[in-house]
């Protein structure tokens, strides 16, 4: 295992030097090595959004992304998102089981971080990759609009 890939990534503002397995996914690295459990396992097929994180400014499912390819990447996990987001979700009580919500925060973080003030369509587009089974979508939308002040 001496030739296992070595990567340096910036995770939530902290530089991390990691040794990863060749096929290791970013979700496995975050949850296993870094104990960052905000990103969740949901489907392993980029189909539900539970594992969404921000990589180099874009919201990307971490379940299929290979960590070995991420040397130099800037990663924001649900633990590191814009503080207005969790505050708005708590204020709106948005989330029933809330298993889907951390990934949703990652997607909304990207919208909030854009220069221009976010609009409702941008928020709706950011949420479209996400599944929620409890039917908390109306409350999640209220929280997202609250955070973005739209």
């Amino acid at each position: 295992m001496n030739n296992a890939p070595q990567i340096r990534v910036l995770v939530n503002g902290t530089s991390r030097d990691l040794t990863v397995a060749a096929e290791e996914t970013l979700l496995q690295t975050l949850r296993g090595q870094l104990h960052l459990t905000g990103a969740k396992y949901g489907c392993g097929a980029e189909a539900c959004g539970a594992c969404m994180v921000v990589v180099n400014g874009a919201a990307i499912p971490a379940c299929t992304l290979r960590s070995a390819d991420l040397d130099g990447a800037i990663v924001v996990t649900p633990e590191g998102v814009d503080v207005r987001l969790p505050a708005a979700f708590v204020a709106e009580q948005a989330g029933q089981c809330a298993y889907c919500v951390p990934g949703i925060l990652a997607s909304l973080h990207v919208v909030m971080a854009r220069g221009a003030p976010p609009d409702r369509n941008a928020i709706l587009a950011a949420l479209e990759p996400h599944l929620c089974r409890c039917g908390a979508q109306p409350a999640i939308l209220r929280a997202a609009f609250r955070a973005a002040e739209v």
């Binding site: 097929a45 089981c97 298993y99 409890c134 908390a136």
Partner: protein, 693 residues
């Protein structure tokens, strides 16, 4: 009549429910579990309100079999109705006992004292004494007594969800728990040649077999998961037996028994008859987080087996595990930890048994089993298909003079630990257990297939025939609403068909068959909300439909209106709900529950069904089983119409039947065709247009 709740009479020690702690706070010990519905938060607020303290003075402990009272399963929209009064009464008893101590200290009459927000009030103002000062003086073995109750009606302190902030910060789920020396496992159900070799495995990953149960186990979760994925990707992987469309319909089902009504009212039968058959397909639970559990066998001392599970009932699961492993129930501890949304009997108990089976091979080490998405879709129980046949004889005004409903359904109740369906764990072969004889939930528990088979209208004697399907194609058990979903869909669609036949407005037709004021009130209200008076003409592609139900004839009264626009596909544009749930303890939580019921039922009604592909493969991924997305959400309006003085009623499952029914009625109205099957997708509508319903 005693004012003490029955559960408190059976278990009167106050500290078994709410325990005074040495730090001056109270510890609340609910036996009910948090499934994403906010019930534990509600109980926390109820306890704080009854105690006269702030929520910060109350510590919540998740249900566990070694600390909590046995409150059975958290099911049936019953938790606040049954558990709330217990915690409210216990809190009141403690408050009275504290005020007794305070009156002795102050040397004043007890009537002059009360407590609020953790302060002891004398003559309505802060006395300088705190509740925390009194807790240490309480007798921990005090028991509930009727004379300790006051006249307050049950209510709760408004507060946010106790679990939400932690979950947003990245933890809070069973899936996130950490343990020393933890082993990770992935199940290999459906592995080719399960008794043979799985081939070379990476270092640190081993194959563990117990009977037919095969799993990969190792300390590095990623390595275990990747090895399991590689095996699953092999072409000879055969995850589940082939299944074909015909297997999933109930037309040729083996009937265990048919139970007709006791009497048949022949005399009232009319020659003017209306008859229709309605179907619902098999459905998946579709929780976003696949099931997970941790188990540890203690090599010495008691307890022997410790399990962390997101089960709906820690005590029933304990009974089931104890029976499976031939242990005394006291040798098993089941601790609840939160999972992703639970809408019924999903894979939670199965994966707990898997973890217990595997952990026995590694004494002293915790073993965590994470099911894959495919495991969850293939091996967790599914919600059964149903066929509901309705027949009515009519008088010359189109009013029913006889009424027969025939419900054909597999079981809705095969939870582990239930008297009827035990033991039903997916791993039962490994535990040497045989297939249990199928049976359905008894009517006194609300029924399974027969739930809400009685129409909530003033009808002549309703004949109910139960055709119980003994050996369905898939593993069937409870999902949100049980049989009420299909039965309410069928009855409410049938009411619209009868109204059409009687050339009467569907709202007027229903109101003409009702005499219960609260039911009539929600229907009238939802008609106002939805602009029912200006309903568009039928057949133009724009539909408005309504439906009414009272879940189990005992929970909240609900009326729903739905608006659809049909072009290429059905677009659900608006849903209105009028709900009489009596006093609403937690308005935000109540709105979330109703919204959630609307969205989930809309998803079932519009797009969900388990269908095999051309090769007979069942859905294994979201791509095979789409659910409603953000862009498909309707605009939702809800009005809680209940009287604040009326006792609170359950709301968790009350919407699922009437929402699907209102959507189907709206589609039938939009296209002027009878819609008799779910989901109401393009295929269903094309068949309806061809009159092949």
């Amino acid at each position: 009549m005693s004012r003490l709740p029955q559960a408190l009479k059976e278990r009167p020690r106050l500290a078994d429910w709410i325990a005074p702690a040495s730090d001056g706070r109270f510890v609340v010990l609910p036996g009910k579990v948090e499934l994403g519905q906010g019930v534990v938060t509600a109980i926390w607020g109820i306890a704080a309100a009854a105690l006269g303290v702030s929520v910060d003075d109350v510590v919540l402990t998740p249900a566990a079999t070694d600390t909590s009272p046995d409150e059975g399963f958290t099911v049936g929209s019953l938790s606040i109705t049954t558990s709330g009064p217990v915690f409210f009464a216990v809190g009141q008893c403690w408050r009275s006992l504290m005020l007794r101590v305070a009156s002795e200290r102050f040397g004043c009459d007890r009537d002059r004292l009360d407590c609020a927000g953790g302060l002891v009030l004398r003559d309505g103002v802060d006395s300088g004494m705190r509740v925390a000062d009194l807790i240490v003086a309480l007798d921990r073995d005090a028991v509930a007594r009727e004379d300790l109750l006051d006249e307050r009606t049950m209510h709760g302190l408004p507060q946010g969800r106790v679990d939400l902030a932690g979950k947003l910060a990245g933890s809070g789920f069973l899936h996130d728990l950490t343990f020393d020396n933890l082993l990770h496992a992935r199940m290999l159900r459906g592995a080719p040649n399960p008794s043979g070799d799985v081939g070379p495995l990476p270092q640190g990953v081993t194959c563990c077999r117990v009977g037919d149960l095969v799993a990969l186990v190792g300390a590095d979760e990623g390595a275990v998961a990747r090895a399991a994925e590689r095996l699953r990707a092999k072409p000879d992987w055969d995850p589940a037996p082939e299944l074909h469309h015909a297997d999933l319909t109930l037309e040729a089902a083996d009937l265990l028994r048919t139970v007709p009504s006791a009497r048949v009212a022949e005399a009232a039968r009319s020659n003017l008859r209306h008859q229709a058959t309605f179907t619902r397909p098999w459905l998946l639970h579709g929780s976003i987080g696949p099931s997970c559990a941790v188990a540890r066998w203690h090599p010495e001392g008691a307890p022997t087996l410790e399990v962390w599970s997101h089960t709906q009932g820690v005590f029933p699961l304990r009974r089931s595990l104890a029976a499976a492993f031939d242990l005394d129930a006291r040798q098993v501890v089941v601790r609840h930890a939160m999972g992703a949304g639970c809408y019924g009997h999903n894979g939670a108990d199965d994966v707990a048994a898997d973890a217990a089976v595997l952990a026995r091979a590694y004494p002293g080490r915790p073993v965590r089993v994470q099911w894959s998405r495919a495991d969850e879709m293939l091996f967790a129980p599914a919600a059964p298909a149903m066929t509901v046949m309705l027949e009515a004889g009519l008088n010359d005004k189109g009013t029913p003079v006889d009424w027969t409903i025939t419900v054909r359904s597999p079981t809705h109740g095969s939870r582990p630990g239930t008297p009827a369906g035990f033991p039903t764990l997916a791993g039962r072969e490994a535990l040497g257990q045989s297939e249990p004889e199928a049976s359905d939930l008894p009517l006194q528990m609300g029924g399974g297939g027969l739930r809400n088979a009685i129409a909530p209208y003033d009808l002549p004697e309703q004949q109910v025939v139960h055709e119980f399907v003994a050996a369905p194609a898939l593993r069937a058990s409870a999902m949100r609403g049980l049989g009420a979903h299909a039965n309410v869909f069928a009855i409410e669609r049938f009411m619209d068909e009868l109204a059409l036949r009687a050339e009467t407005d569907p709202l007027e037709y229903r109101l003409g068959l009702m005499s219960e004021a609260r039911g009539m009130a929600v229907l009238t209200r939802v008609a106002q909300m939805s602009g029912w008076g200006e309903r568009p003409a039928s057949g133009g592609g724009h539909g408005l439909g309504l439906a009414f139900s009272r879940y189990k004839l005992s929970a909240a009264w609900v009326a729903i209106a739905a608006e659809v626009q049909i072009e290429e596909d059905v677009r659900l544009t608006r849903v209105w709900a009028a709900v009489d749930a009596g006093r609403v303890i937690d308005p935000v939580g109540a709105r979330n529950q109703i919204e959630g019921g609307i969205v989930q039922s809309a998803s079932w009604a519009l797009m969900e069904q388990i269908v095999p592909d051309g090769l007979g493969r069942r859905p294994m991924a979201w791509a095979d089983y789409p659910i409603l997305r953000f862009s498909q959400l309707p605009q939702i309006s809800i009005d809680f119409t209940g009287d604040d003085m009326a006792p609170p009623l359950g709301i968790g499952e009350v919407c699922v039947g009437p929402v699907s029914a209102a959507i189907a009625n709206a589609c039938a109205h939009a296209l002027a065709v009878p819609v008799r099957r779910l989901p109401v997708d393009r295929d269903t509508l094309e068949r309806a247009l061809l009159s092949d319903t």
